[in-house]
Amino acid sequence: MTGVVEGGWEFVIAAYAITVLGFAIYGASLVARLKELNKHD
């Protein structure tokens, strides 16, 4: 045991992927909601 955390790339990739996905989905939902609201005009 050196105390260094070994490997862990899968955790890193998961964290970045979920964050990017979260931003993307939220952004898309906002655009969709705006479109829906503007359509009724």
Binding site: G3, V4, V5, E6, G7, G8, W9, F11, V12, A14, A15, Y16, I18, T19, V20, G22, F23, Y26, G27, L30, V31, R33, L34, L37, N38, H40
Partner: protein
């Protein structure tokens, strides 16, 4: 009202986030103790900073609404609450992904992470309250009051959990970030900030449009009644 600014901000933020994350993932050296897992910090810390800004924003809007009773502060507060929920949710996930390889558990009762989770629940409660109140001015006042109460709770939660935790275990914290790690951290912080401002602007627009529509419906009914 229909300015392109939020879209420009979102595009810029996305580009910066790609650049900063590339730097953080492939260019920056791996950390001495934490190894590769340290790289989660380049996205986690910027999210955390911006979450705090979102919470402050919602708090400020709540106070502004109570003083001015201007509906635009209500729309902004709704946006701040929802964007805060998004960031808090991401923070909790990133935090547990960080906790697993570092401490061997998915959830560590770290004061920061726990406070985020508590405020996430509180914000969801306020958004639920909003969806159950039909009268716009009541909804605005009540959620402003609830937002102020929840924001005041945040520091108390933080210190109580910190105490609670330190009384039964000393927690190993990662080293303070050294200069070699500054660049991706700062770039991503600006990137998430731009994204957040873009989201806030768009979400405010959604809230304002809904409010407009809501107040338009009774007016139409009234007019129809007068005609009949």
């Amino acid at each position: 009202m229909r300015s392109k600014t939020p879209y420009v901000l979102l595009a810029l933020g996305t580009l910066l986030l790609l650049f900063g994350s590339y730097w953080g993932l492939f260019v920056a050296p791996s950390e001495r103790y934490m190894g590769e897992v340290q790289r989660i910090m380049y996205v986690h810390v910027p999210t955390a900073w911006n979450w705090m800004l979102a919470v402050l924003f919602a708090f400020g809007c709540a106070i502004a609404y109570l003083f001015t009773a201007n509906a635009k502060w209500d729309s902004r507060m709704e946006a701040g609450l929802e964007v805060g929920v998004l960031l808090a949710f991401l923070l909790c996930i990133q935090g547990s992904i960080w906790a697993k390889p570092t401490w061997g558990v998915w959830w560590d009762w770290d004061p920061r992470l726990t406070s985020v989770a508590v405020l996430l629940m509180a914000s969801l409660g306020i958004l639920a309250l909003r969806s159950f109140v039909d009268d716009p001015s009541r909804r605005a006042v009540w959620s402003a009051v609830a937002t102020i109460i929840a924001s005041v709770d945040l520091p108390i939660v933080y210190f109580s959990v910190k105490w609670w935790n330190s009384l039964h275990q000393e927690q190993s914290t990662p080293q303070t970030v050294s200069s070699a790690f500054h660049l991706p951290l700062r770039v991503n912080a600006v990137a998430v900030l731009l994204l957040m401002i873009g989201f806030l602007m768009l979400r405010t627009r959604v809230a304002a449009l809904r409010l407009e529509r809501e107040s338009a419906v009774p007016q139409l009914q009234q007019e129809a009644g007068e005609l009949a």
